[in-house]
């Protein structure tokens, strides 16, 4: 590492939040307690796709100790939110689009009473066909999850001339890659507390990765100016992208508005995992060509994804994955066509990497396949194609600084030679001779 002589950087300092965390005084959202505080809970759908025909909240409302039971009619402002497309309801107003959609909310004096009240709410559904695959979503006669198409978002990247490039290739490899749906499993389940302060400002203290976005959504839902809402991030127990969407913010604020009392919501592990976003499962059909020297000539990838019931960060994932589909390698001809669909599956969203982990499964698989076909070592083919200052990526952008890729390759190799020499030997060998 050659670096400037920094006074503070590139050294170790005790993190600013460490002391309170090791002392146990750090306040996570569930740790807040306020006088007169209520506990909140959500009545959720147990079907994936249905119209709500009847909703009976009277028995729950009649339970002593229950402060409010609210459905979508209680929302004073907008009942649609979402980081990019506003397609998710705070409380279901037209139809249920996934298992676990929020239909009603309850605030009561104790968590036990919340549980009991939720059990008293009655709902009647008119069930619709549930779309559970990308393929079914794309069929013309399939029911539509939103609007009149199940196409959530598409992207097309085109660079160079892919169709003409294949004849310049000495070797072409073609494979289909797929990744699965995963959960962030941040250790702290979602939680938050909302209250109106003495100035009438709605305060929301919440476990979140994006307080300013939360503020805007709470203000829109309440129909008040953004400066009448304060969102304060509680100490947050991990996120990994899973706390970028709205969790309890809107429900807490809505009930605090109606009851004029602080309302705390703490999701159980199951509820948290059930309704927070998931990693997009992506299928990538990819054709890659190279010269006999191992230089990449062309990449063509068709990418599809079942993004689940709501859009969340899908437009961000589908924007990022094509740009990264070749990996950190030079390639003069690239095409990537991507289609993400709405289904009634669990909602996918932001998860550490935004589609690049999925793309990496594809581009690294293809590099290994090429190495095998060309009888080169996996390290060698990567070095031959590595980005450097002056390389151009498939959007036409030239890289002008800070491209340390080759250094990561050589430094990883050298460290491996030291700590895992036999393992590195296997990597340096070509495929010849096989196993």
């Amino acid at each position: 590492m050659s670096m400037k002589n920094y006074a503070v950087l590139a050294q170790d300092h005790v993190k600013v939040d460490s002391l309170e965390k090791v002392m146990g005084t750090a306040k996570f959202a569930a740790d807040y307690k306020m006088p007169d505080m209520l506990y909140g809970g959500v009545f959720r759908s147990t079907v994936p796709h249905a119209y709500v025909k009847k909703l009976n909240m009277e028995k729950a409302r009649a339970l002593p100790g229950v402060a409010c039971v609210l459905d979508h009619t209680a929302i004073p402002g907008k009942n649609r939110f979402g980081i990019i497309f506003k397609d998710e309801p705070c409380l279901v107003d037209d139809k249920v689009r996934r298992y676990g959609d929020a239909i009603a909310v309850v605030a009561a004096e104790t968590p036990e009473l919340v549980h009991e009240a939720l059990g008293l709410i009655e709902v009647e559904y008119e069930e619709l066909e549930a779309i559970s695959t990308f393929e079914r979503a794309m069929e013309e006669d399939s029911p539509k999850v939103h609007g009149n198409t199940n196409v959530n978002v598409t992207k097309h990247l085109e660079y160079g001339n892919v169709d003409e490039a294949w004849e310049k290739c000495d070797v072409i490899v073609e494979n289909t890659y797929s990744t699965h749906i995963l959960s962030h499993m941040f250790i702290e389940p979602d939680a938050g507390i909302a209250y109106l302060d003495e100035q009438g400002i709605m305060n929301v203290i919440v476990s979140t990765q994006n307080p300013h976005y939360d503020r805007n959504e709470v203000a829109a839902m309440l129909g008040v100016p953004q400066n009448r809402v304060r969102v304060k991030q509680a100490v947050t127990g991990g996120g990994f992208g899973g706390k970028l969407d709205i969790s309890v913010q809107l429900h807490c604020a809505l009930m605090a508005l109606y009851t004029k009392r602080p309302v705390k919501m703490v999701r159980s592990r199951s509820e948290s995992t059930m309704v927070s976003s998931k990693r997009h499962p992506v299928t990538m059909k990819c054709k890659t060509g190279a010269t006999k020297d191992g230089k990449l000539v062309a990449v063509d990838c068709y990418m599809t994804c079942d993004a689940g019931a709501y859009s969340s960060y899908a437009p961000a994932v589908i924007g990022r994955a094509p740009v990264h589909i070749v990996g950190p390698y030079e390639c003069p001809n690239v095409r990537c066509h991507a289609v993400f669909a709405y289904t009634n599956n669990p909602m996918c969203g932001a998860f550490r990497g935004f589609g690049v982990p999925q793309a990496a499964v594809c581009h690294e698989g293809q590099m290994n396949a090429l190495a095998k076909a060309l009888n080169m070592s996996p390290l060698e083919i990567r070095m031959i194609n590595a980005h450097h200052v002056g390389s151009v990526i498939p959007t036409g952008q030239e890289l002008t600084e800070s491209v340390g890729f080759l250094d990561t390759l050589t430094q990883a190799r050298d460290k491996a030679a030291e700590v895992m020499p036999e393992a590195l030997d296997r990597l340096m060998k070509t495929e010849e001779g096989g196993l």
């Binding site: 993190k15 309170e20 127990g237 592990r269």
Partner: protein, 159 residues
């Protein structure tokens, strides 16, 4: 349901808590005694965030009813620090960079305290074993294991 009174020692002080029997030790510590360092991450004894030292042994307080604490000696993270200052394990967690989101930290530190009380010079493997009931999603455990070894070394007067 008849309320019960639980007499126990919490963080070196005797307490008597009148409580409904359908509460867990976790609830009693957090709600009745306001010891909110005890975290609830999974409610099934899996993540270890609610770990407390119970009669000298680390246990997950979500798997214990409040009534079972009768007569017990219980330590939470609030009872670890010395005169409001971090003890050797807490300091080592800070110095080793073992704290990220911090939600697993209380359980991690208590498990480490219980380990070091019995085994002041654990091997790396023993530390990994001892900490294997505390899930962490941020650190990959490397710096946590490092912190426990560092604390052991410092406690023995090494550094």
């Amino acid at each position: 349901m008849n309320k019960i009174t639980v007499h126990c020692t919490v963080n070196h002080k005797p307490v008597a808590v009148e409580i409904d029997p359908n509460k867990r030790l976790l609830d009693m510590l957090r709600e009745d005694l306001n010891l909110t360092s005890v975290k609830e991450g999974c409610s099934e004894g899996e993540c270890g965030a609610c770990t407390v030292i119970f009669n000298g042994e680390p246990v997950t307080s979500c798997c214990v009813l409040a009534g079972q604490a009768e007569g017990a000696d219980i330590i939470t993270l609030e009872g670890v620090s010395v005169d409001g200052k971090p003890d050797v394990v807490q300091q080592a967690f800070m110095d080793a960079g073992a704290v990220q989101c911090g939600f697993c930290t209380p359980g991690m530190i208590l498990t480490a305290e219980a380990l070091l009380a019995k085994n002041p010079a654990p091997t790396e493997e023993e530390v990994k074993q001892a900490m294997s009931g505390n899930l962490c999603r941020c650190t990959g455990y490397a710096k946590i294991v490092e912190a426990v070894l560092l604390a052991a070394e410092r406690a023995r007067g090494g550094v």
